[in-house]
Symmetry: C2
Amino acid sequence: MRKEQSTNFANEQFLFQVCELNSAIAMISGRWKSQIVYSISQGNNRFHLLQQELPNISETVLARQLKELETHAILIKQEIPNSVPLGIQYVLTNKGLDLVPILESLCDWGKMYAEGKEISSYSIS
Amino acid sequence: MRKEQSTNFANEQFLFQVCELNSAIAMISGRWKSQIVYSISQGNNRFHLLQQELPNISETVLARQLKELETHAILIKQEIPNSVPLGIQYVLTNKGLDLVPILESLCDWGKMYAEGKEISSYSIS
DNA sequence: ACAATAACTAACAAAATTGTTAGTCTTTAA
DNA sequence: TTAAAGACTAACAATTTTGTTAGTTATTGT
């Protein structure tokens, strides 16, 4: 439960209004969120497929992360037509699809500067 | 204090090893971090300048965020040569500099899909 | 000598996130 | 008819993050 009278909440709101960067970061910074978005973009678009990809996530936590991504309109939940039993799939919205290449650059950035791979040099200005 | 025997810690480690994306996200997802990186890239490279930019941050919290960014080699702390009194500036490393355009795309993405800025003003249950 | 500024730190408290336990509902296969 | 799979939810506990309080050190302006 968010406490809307807290300093924490006020500071979050302040940053949201300073720059959309901060709301963007807030939307993708949950423990499993960006990995879920990336996995869905790779075709793992069902609850049980995501569970297979992320064997350490509990059902409760996965459901919660998916709901938050849905709240931020990064994905939508869809019934799979003509499926018996009725299946549910998670589909990235345009917003979610546009996020994927950014996650890929973050991934590349992470790889480039991963422990031990860092070529060197601090910039001195 | 991190509890290295916790599920939370184990899950974080798991994600780090799934993809560098997750360590990248972890490095930039503190409350003020990406805004600090962006502010420094705009020239606000001193403690008191950052405080002016972010009037709601406390000294303790700012110092902590800066130290974490330093730990992740996104910036370094430097004494300003020939300054009296000795001043300290924060300088982005190559890693930090390479992060800036990614933060800019995140910002653009946030702006493009901004709809009702109440993103976290309701609780997700 | 004394207050002010810059740049911090440790210890603690408040709040938020993440994980666990124990359920639900619907459909299908044995 | 019973069990299993898929897709969840509420309530609670553990852990982590964020914010607060009360200091420190060094230097400078008055």
